[in-house]
Symmetry: C2
Subunit: 299 residues, 2 copies
Amino acid sequence: MADTSTDPLPSWRDGDAKRAVLDGIDAVADPASPDFVPETDRIATFDNDGTLWCERPIIAQAAFLMQRWATMAEADPSMRATDPYRLAYEGQTDEFSAAFAHGPAIVAGLSEAYAGATPDEVDDAVRTFIDGFRHARFGCLLTDLAFVPMVELFHLLEDRGFTTYVASAGGRDFLRVFAEDLYGVPRHRVIGTSTELGWTDGRLVRGDVRVDPVDEGPGKPVHIYERTGVLPAFAAGNANGDVEMLESAAVSLLLRHDDDRREYAYDESAERARAGAAEHGWIVASMRDDFERVFAHDD
Amino acid sequence: MADTSTDPLPSWRDGDAKRAVLDGIDAVADPASPDFVPETDRIATFDNDGTLWCERPIIAQAAFLMQRWATMAEADPSMRATDPYRLAYEGQTDEFSAAFAHGPAIVAGLSEAYAGATPDEVDDAVRTFIDGFRHARFGCLLTDLAFVPMVELFHLLEDRGFTTYVASAGGRDFLRVFAEDLYGVPRHRVIGTSTELGWTDGRLVRGDVRVDPVDEGPGKPVHIYERTGVLPAFAAGNANGDVEMLESAAVSLLLRHDDDRREYAYDESAERARAGAAEHGWIVASMRDDFERVFAHDD
């Protein structure tokens, strides 16, 4: 990691966004500020896919689901005739990704695909997947796809007395397996959409449906409040599904994907978020202009 | 508080229960133990009503609901003809309590009674209620009804690296208002049954129904896992609704209400729990025999 002794955000370029982020943190963490939030209530919530790590060309959990369905269709040829199983079996990543571009759809798929399993069994499957997966373009492990400046910001917030949470539209239980390694976030600070769970014969067992509300859109501040009892002092997101979380926060940051050289450039699914930023004055950070580097491998 | 420098549980009498509790803590907190649980996963979950504080002659939240419905019936005479509003309006505590002896029924009632309110408005109503209520028999504030030996145990667990949670079948949001004052537990470590919440016009608003699963019976380990990502290393309860949580824990403690002099003596709603303790070898503590004192006012 870069040296943070003189600059608290060394992977951010100097500019409006960095200055606004540092000012925003001071506004809620400085006891002399009129917007001061005491430490017990001072939480920061970050979306995951596209905010803390790369979501292209396919959201990691969608790839995990694709692999699971491919295996199931291998064993059961009758599945191969029907989408989405056919797409998974044939390895059609782009079409599969388009059909499952949203966390809630993936969680619904994973609920079905792992119905009756114990959480521990799924944790093991996630670990095996993570160890074996390589990113199509960068060739790196999924766990090397974190955005260095965002993780740096996450840790700066912790240094300033914020309790950090990841709040993902995707599956809470998928992310819990590696959030500690990737972001230093323990399992209890991962918020996300979940599969119904039951207690049967003295153990936890997964059901076959997703739990509502999903942790996306208006469900995001609801999930955050349910977990923590407060709304965020600082929130960061990148897409339409983050709008309500950003509305609910004292300081809000929208990350823009505009760097097709080091990452990807796309505005789809961020139209409402960009309009919200203009309306409410949220901080907007450009990956191209405001990040000194994006991934650890950019060093 | 009593001196804990030489005895970690000074409000507990020496005996089998106290010894088993201390041995149980060592079993999961001592790195040399075969049952050692690392600190990140070492959580303790305590039921609230009847385990951490007194639930007789009426569960506090039921009294809160009774007061709300009495006020509503004051304003709307047509409500006075129908139970449970009539019971509330007429101040029939015993009958009302019998009808609402369980947290889930109370949360359903509170969902209806405060539909459309914001969480902050209900927090304020809870504070006003708590400040004004006196216990029918002891004359003390609700916040003086904590069981001193159980709170002492709670804090000992924290000293031994456990993260403590309250896991109540009753309403999470009711308890969050005063759990910090009463037990030193911040809002995010209160688990309980909840009212449906929505995000409307830029703010959280309460719905009119309870969220399932309720945090009781098989729903208790589910809620605990959803919140924390693990199952308890230590759990304490007093009633049938705690059985599955006690099953899910590495070390389990059942509190028996058998002291009609200092508290109350009753076995109703604890029949399955007592059978479970006998079957699984849970620690059973008698309030009469194992507690040196029950309330702070016993000093």
